[in-house]
């Protein structure tokens, strides 16, 4: 009998080690048979500068060493979609990207690559977003995403409409990657957060628009290579006229940061924060519920171990 018990527990541990802590918590939330001991599923920080908030949040999550091992190749995917300056909040905060690179480097990452498949002239987006300068200063490397040859097709077996997608090789070939979106309003998808940010790792963006945008965004989130963390930049958010914004009147400074390995949870939390500024029915951001249905993650924040920190 003892031997059988041993096998059982070994199997459980083995299966558990396949899952990332967040998805594990999500999938087992209903039948809470395996206890996940004191893992933090989400950290939200408010009231500091990007670098300070990031360092604090990563510390709460168990330190960067938990995600990045020595000698690993790291990729960071911020939102750099638009040729706009940082104050417009159309792109991820450059200080946040720089701070994350520093953390990865301190954990011994062999290289940190940063890219986005931009919507406008990619070189101008990289420069004017301030991200190129921040990345190079922190010791990372900006790489292009402007040509189909940088992408490789992979299967998306769980996808409903999108069964295949061409994903940037940097993501496919790296050891670990971080999804670093900015929280903003979006004319088409209603809001752009962590799952919408995945459109920037895919080559054919038009496929999304012509095959039910929301479903394709949810499909993209089922991709096999998930980010270690979704780091939602809410230092400045774009409350209206997204995703580009017209003027700085579209921008609200919330000085916040939400981090979770769970796409759905991160987007849900971000939507709740966003709704305080611009009331939005989360059901209208249809891809969130669709992704939950595909078991990408959970909208039930109350079932997660969420740490909220005010600085």
């Amino acid at each position: 009998m003892k031997r059988r018990d041993f096998f059982k527990s070994a199997a459980v541990v083995g299966i558990a080690s396949i899952f990332k802590p967040g998805t594990l918590a999500a999938s087992t939330a209903a039948s809470n048979s395996v206890s996940v001991h004191a893992t933090t599923d989400m950290v939200a920080v408010m009231g500091g500068e990007p670098e300070i908030m990031l360092n604090r949040a990563i510390k709460e999550l168990g330190g960067i060493g938990k995600y990045v091992k020595k000698g690993q190749k790291v990729v960071i995917k911020p939102n750099i979609g638009w040729d706009k300056k940082p104050a417009m909040a159309a792109n991820t905060n450059p200080e946040l990207v720089g701070a994350l690179i520093k953390l990865c480097k301190s954990a011994g990452a062999s290289e940190v690559l940063v890219f986005d498949h931009t919507c406008q002239d990619w070189q101008k987006c990289y420069v004017n977003s301030g991200i190129k300068a921040a990345v190079e200063k922190a010791g990372g490397k900006m790489i292009p995403g402007n040509d189909e040859s940088y992408y490789r097709e992979v299967e998306v077996p769980q996808g409903v409409h999108m069964k295949k997608a061409k994903i940037h090789k940097a993501i496919l070939d790296c050891d670990v990657w971080f999804n670093v979106p900015v929280l903003k309003h979006h004319g088409g998808a209603k809001n752009s957060i962590s799952m919408k940010n995945l459109m920037g790792i895919v080559w054919d963006r038009q496929f999304f628009h012509s095959n039910d945008l929301h479903q394709c965004i949810a499909d993209a989130a089922t991709m096999h290579k998930k980010p270690a963390l979704n780091i939602v930049d809410a230092y400045r958010i774009m409350k209206s006229n997204g995703p580009q914004g017209k003027t700085e009147a579209d921008v609200v400074t919330l000085k916040s940061l939400i981090i979770s390995p769970d796409f759905v949870a991160a987007d849900t939390a971000a939507m709740k924060m966003f709704s305080q500024v611009q009331p939005t029915d989360i059901a209208d951001v249809r891809y969130i519920a669709m992704a939950e249905k595909l078991r990408v993650g959970t909208q039930h924040l109350e079932k997660l171990n969420v740490k909220k920190i005010k600085l």
């Binding site: 939200a44 408010m46 009231g47 040729d83 690559l113 919507c119 406008q120 002239d121 070189q123 101008k124 004017n128 490397k141 790489i143 292009p144 402007n146 040509d147 040859s149 940088y150 070939d173 979006h186 004319g187 088409g188 998808a189 209603k190 963006r205 038009q206 628009h209 012509s210 095959n211 039910d212 945008l213 929301h214 479903q215 409350k239 209206s240 006229n241 995703p243 580009q244 017209k246 003027t247 009147a249 579209d250 609200v252 919330l254 916040s256 849900t268 939390a269 709740k272 924060m273 966003f274 709704s275 305080q276 500024v277 611009q278 059901a283 209208d284 249809r286 924040l301 969420v306 909220k308």
Partner: protein, 511 residues
């Protein structure tokens, strides 16, 4: 005197190399200010009515002859390179192989007269096709640049497969068969002519060469042969790429001499002079066989300059045939009106080369026959006019595109977006899309409630600037549900209204 040739060669390299590199540069690393080198070209200076440059070029020509042709004009230097290359392929590898030829007066003056006449009537057709600088621009842009990009992309592919992204791929999107064909024709024509006959093209076809030839007949300093010391060895004649030295008669045809000073270097008896030659001028003039026509053409070319200086281009070209245009072509921002643009643009392709979005393409027949090569906007996936960019108007050397500050350019309405609901994904498939609104920098295209929580685009025309972001990304293909209709006169769009500022302080997470 022999140092003159070296100075000429040095100057030619000094002008040619930066111009060549600037035209070919696809990385945007060379400074925009280098377009000053193109503003000093003869036709661009005339068209933009840049009086200072026109005056300087005229004075130089009156003083020293056709220095422009042998140093500043990139097409001239290109011919020198072609002629020099031909030496490596000839059997004897001889350096001096030219022979005196009679001038092709009827041909060259007719072409000049025709170019001027057609321009005065109201079409830039021949100016566009024959401006030497613009021909050179097109040869680089349409023939050479694709090869450079091809090589670059090959290197980029190898590098990126090794994980090195320092060289990146640049796609060449500007292939237009009509434009390519014409450019290839001129490339072959000019190459062959210069390969065998030096500066024959400059002295028979090029209207700039012909008009400067008329000016240089009056030039103060000129090449002459001193009859007392010359032993008629013919070295000067053989070295003359303009084929304008007749060593038997000991004459030099001033109208064809491009002041290259090669003859000064080769004469062993120092019989070739470059000196104050006003005394001789009268005698030579009366000997000139083209004397009768010369006066007429002096008058004609005088007329060109004066018309250009005083006439309003708009009144010159009031009657462009509308029938030849189907969908109104979309002109680059800062083009003003279609008449102004069609008159002033020489189709040099500089803006096409510099456009970071590659949305500018040489026109085939969109502007009619006379507008072949002139740029127009052609939207396709991810290809549209960038909101925060005014590079085309800052590089234009001819004044076809007026220099315009970026804030001003952001309000120039180059066209208006038209929405066709019956083709829109939201209406047809009943799913969310909003790609057009997403790409609209002014939110002239914005989403309004449709049904079942869906939103559908709507266009506020008076704030639309026609950048084509919406058309470029619309997933309805091949007939986009939203497209830009060009305007014949660009106007100023209204400034988009700002959003209501959010002033309340948030210090709760909300969850």
């Amino acid at each position: 005197m022999k140092y003159l040739k070296n100075i000429r060669v040095a100057l030619a390299i000094l002008f040619f190399l930066p111009i060549f590199l600037y035209l070919i540069d696809f990385t945007g690393k060379l400074p925009v200010q280098m377009h000053a080198l193109l503003k000093i070209q003869w036709i661009p200076a005339l068209l933009s009515l840049n009086m200072i440059i026109i005056a300087v070029l005229v004075v130089i020509s009156l003083l020293l002859g056709r220095i422009y042709c042998s140093t500043i004009c990139p097409l001239g230097i290109f011919q020198d390179i072609a002629a020099r290359k031909s030496r490596f392929f000839s059997k004897k590898k001889k350096k001096f192989r030219y022979k005196y030829q009679k001038p092709q007066n009827i041909l060259r003056y007719s072409i000049l007269a025709l170019t001027v006449l057609i321009f005065v009537i109201g079409s830039s057709f021949l100016v566009v096709q024959l401006d030497p600088y613009s021909i050179f621009g097109r040869i680089v842009s349409q023939l050479l640049r694709p090869l450079v990009l091809f090589a670059n992309n090959g290197i980029a592919a190898i590098f990126s497969s090794m994980g090195n992204y320092s060289v990146f791929k640049v796609e060449q999107l500007t292939f237009v068969p009509v434009a390519f064909g014409i450019t290839l024709f001129f490339f072959v024509l000019i190459s062959v002519m210069s390969w065998f006959q030096g500066r024959l093209y400059c002295n028979t076809i090029c209207p700039v060469g012909t008009s400067l030839g008329l000016l240089s007949k009056l030039s103060v300093f000129r090449i002459s042969i001193s009859e007392s010391s010359c032993n008629q060895c013919g070295a000067c004649e053989k070295s003359c790429k303009s084929q304008c030295i007749d060593s038997k008669e000991m004459t030099v045809d001033q109208s064809r001499c491009v002041s290259c000073y090669n003859c000064l270097t080769v004469c062993k008896r120092s019989s070739m002079n470059y000196q104050f030659g006003y005394k001789k001028q009268k005698i030579e003039a009366s000997q000139d066989p083209s004397d009768g026509s010369r006066r007429t053409f002096l008058l004609t070319s005088g007329a060109v300059i004066s018309t250009l200086a005083f006439a309003n281009a708009k009144t010159l070209t009031g009657k462009k045939t509308d029938a030849t245009l189907t969908r109104t072509p979309i002109m680059p921002p800062a083009a003003g009106s279609i008449e102004h643009f069609n008159t002033k643009c020489t189709g040099c392709q500089l803006c096409v080369d510099k456009c970071p979005m590659q949305v500018l393409k040489p026109a085939a027949l969109q502007y009619g026959i006379s507008g072949i090569m002139q740029p127009h906007l052609n939207f396709s996936t991810h290809i549209f006019c960038s909101y925060d960019c005014n590079i085309c108007s800052s590089v234009c050397p001819t004044g076809a595109l007026k220099e315009m500050a970026i804030e001003e350019k952001k309000l120039v309405q180059i066209g208006i977006a038209k929405f066709r609901k019956d083709k829109c994904i939201v209406a047809v498939e009943e799913t969310d899309c909003g790609a057009c609104s997403e790409h609209c920098p002014t939110q002239a295209v914005h989403m309004i409630p449709y049904k079942n929580g869906l939103t559908i685009p709507e266009v506020t025309e008076n704030i639309c600037i026609g950048c084509g972001g919406c058309e470029s990304i619309c997933p309805a293909r091949p007939y986009p549900a939203i497209y830009v209709e060009g305007t014949k006169t660009q106007t100023i769009a209204k400034k988009p209204a700002e959003a209501v500022k959010f002033e309340k302080k948030i210090d709760d997470f909300g969850f």
